[in-house]
């Protein structure tokens, strides 16, 4: 008898427990050569902004021990082209789709949500508040409970859709539970965590930061213990809040750690770069890990590490 791996994020039922992480699978199309994208829990798209965006200067990445830094700078085609091309492809291929949005200011988030609430094929919204707020000296929205809540309230006010709204949290804060509380109070249906940690690599030949954007986001297995801790803390404080977990998941065993810490589903990010089939492989492995431990379903394990 096989394990029931179906799960949910608020009102969104997911046929599989592994999703792609925003920015690590573009809008799904390129992964199609490695597996059937419609069988994933969902594709979480690269964060889309209102206008087309060129991103930052290169180099945009540096490999680091068990991780990498990126400073892509949200390169993307803008919402219009996204709807016409990317979302259309996802719909045509029956892919469960969570659209990630990013704004330069609170209004832009609202504008994006307003547009997306009206179109078909958006099964969930991930609000990437881990980007800099140009109106507030570049401080990241997710690093401040007030600005984080403002974004969510604005999105919520125009989100006339049943699809869940998730806030994507940054680990670069003194107290992630405080931020979680503030976005919950502002009306999110769940949280995605964690985004990357701010990091830097220095090119000691050129004696300057290696990345074009100077700092970048640290991701990959290196940060996994930070992700597990953050999810554990937030689940302890808000046990009913659906959590989409991510941060360095490489195997089904890793995924099980996230589920046990309190995540209802997981996104696979950086590991996809080295192993494009990882989202499917990890779902299989997770099934085996559960089965070998005698569990019948994923859902019975969500948050289980809190009870022992």
């Amino acid at each position: 008898m096989s394990v029931d791996l179906t799960t949910s994020l608020g009102s969104l039922q997911l046929a599989a427990p592994t999703l792609t992480a925003s920015g690590c699978a573009a809008a799904g199309k390129e992964l199609a050569q490695f597996g059937d994208v419609s069988t994933l829990g969902a594709v979480v798209t690269k964060s889309i902004m209102m206008a087309p965006r060129s991103g930052r200067a290169t180099p945009r990445m540096a490999e680091t021990p068990s991780g990498m830094l990126n400073s892509i700078g949200l390169q993307g085609p803008g919402i219009e082209s996204f709807l016409e091309n990317d979302l259309a492809w996802l719909r045509a291929n029956n892919v469960t789709t969570i659209v990630s949005i990013a704004g330069n200011n609170v209004d832009e988030f609202g504008e994006l949500a307003r547009i997306l609430a009206k179109v078909e094929g958006v099964d969930g919204l991930e609000v990437n508040i881990s980007c800099p707020n140009v109106e507030s000296r570049g401080q990241v929205f997710a690093c401040n409970p007030v600005s984080a809540a403002q974004v969510i309230e604005t999105v919520r006010s125009v989100w006339h859709s049943d699809a869940p709204v998730l806030a994507k949290l940054s680990p670069d804060v003194t107290d992630i539970v405080e931020i979680a509380h503030s976005v919950v109070d502002a009306g999110v249906d769940g949280v995605s965590m964690i985004n990357t940690l701010l990091g830097m690599v220095i090119d000691v030949d050129q004696m300057k930061p290696m990345l074009g954007g100077r700092t970048g986001g640290l991701s990959g297995p290196a940060i996994r213990p930070v992700a597990v801790r953050a999810i554990y803390q937030v689940h302890a404080a808000l046990p009913h809040l659906p959590i989409l977990g991510m941060g360095g998941i490489r195997t089904g065993h890793d995924a099980l750690e996230f589920i046990a810490a309190g995540a209802s589903a997981v996104s696979i990010g950086t590991v996809v770069f080295g192993d494009p089939g990882a989202p499917w492989r990890i779902a299989n492995e997770l099934g085996q890990e559960l089965q070998s431990r005698g569990y019948n379903s994923l859902s019975e394990v969500v948050g289980l590490a809190h009870h022992n």
Binding site: G23, L31, T58, M61, N104
Partner: protein
């Protein structure tokens, strides 16, 4: 794809890796392979990209690599019988001419790896093929003999004069183009070389195709790390992915001076006053 190493052997300053690759069918010149490095418990997440040197469909895949940083150093410690994980073929290969035109192949260092395959394809289409191979020094030249066996002519340059003409490939390229009335130049090598080749080609009335080498995280088009400013058919500059839109680009379309920057007129570039 799990590939068993058939052999790994030094050629000059490089290593020649022959892999069992039963799952790989047709490979075109300019395609690349992405190799996972580091093994069990390894700390290196990203694959290393290498031009495909040769392949026998359904049987083998060959690459030529320099043991450079950590990942390629690890690869150099592998031996026959070891198994490595490879994704191939990837990328857009060189575009081959429909007519039997006169072509020049220009390569720097291990940039010559895909060029024997290319030369054979071009010759197979009736093209004239002249070759210019360059490197810093003799040990860093690759493929001279093999290309001599295929091409109509081969000129070698080295920066230090240890082999062939002392100097750069671009010191002789204009002559080669003019002498042979070459219409197309195919190039692979370091970025500054490609930039110079693109310019010399254009100045001498030849069309160029350059296989660029940009740092890649995914190699499959999902991460946006490997971009460079390329002018599209519509005249608009976009930050294009060298892994799926390239690695081969038209030399006259890459904005060489602006590589590693986002030109202010690029699609989606930051505007004064914020985005």
């Amino acid at each position: 794809m799990q590939c068993t190493i058939r052999s790994i052997s030094p050629v000059g300053n490089y290593l020649h890796l022959i892999l069992d690759a039963p799952e790989v069918d047709e490979v075109a010149p300019g395609h690349f392979a992405a190799v996972a490095v580091g093994g069990i418990g390894g700390g290196m997440l990203l694959r290393r990209a290498f031009s495909i040197h040769k392949s026998t469909p359904g049987q083998t895949l060959e690459i030529i690599f320099a043991a450079h940083g950590q990942g390629t150093q690890w690869l150099a410690t592998q031996s026959a019988g070891d198994v490595i994980d490879v994704i191939a073929p990837l990328g857009k290969p060189f575009v081959l001419p429909r007519q039997p035109i006169s072509c020049v192949i220009v390569a720097g260092g291990y940039g010559a790896a895909p060029m024997e395959l290319l030369a054979r394809e071009l010759r197979g289409r009736g093209c004239r093929v002249d070759v210019v191979l360059g490197a810093a020094t003799q040990e860093k030249l690759f493929g001279v003999l093999d290309l001599k066996g295929v091409a109509d002519s081969v000129i070698v340059t080295t920066d230090d004069g240890t082999s062939g003409v002392r100097g750069r490939v671009t010191d002789v390229l204009a002559d080669v183009i003019n002498k042979n009335k070459s219409q197309a130049v195919y190039a692979c090598g370091p970025m500054p070389m490609l930039q110079a080749v693109a310019k010399v080609s254009q100045d001498n009335g030849a069309f160029s195709q350059c296989a660029v080498e940009e740092s890649m995280a995914c190699g499959i088009g999902v991460c946006m790390t490997c971009v460079l400013p390329v002018i599209g058919d519509d005249g608009v500059t976009r930050m294009s992915r060298s892994c799926v839109d390239g690695p081969v680009f038209r030399g006259d379309r890459v904005r060489w001076d602006d590589v590693h920057t986002v030109p202010s007129d690029a699609f989606g570039a930051p505007r004064p006053g914020g985005h």
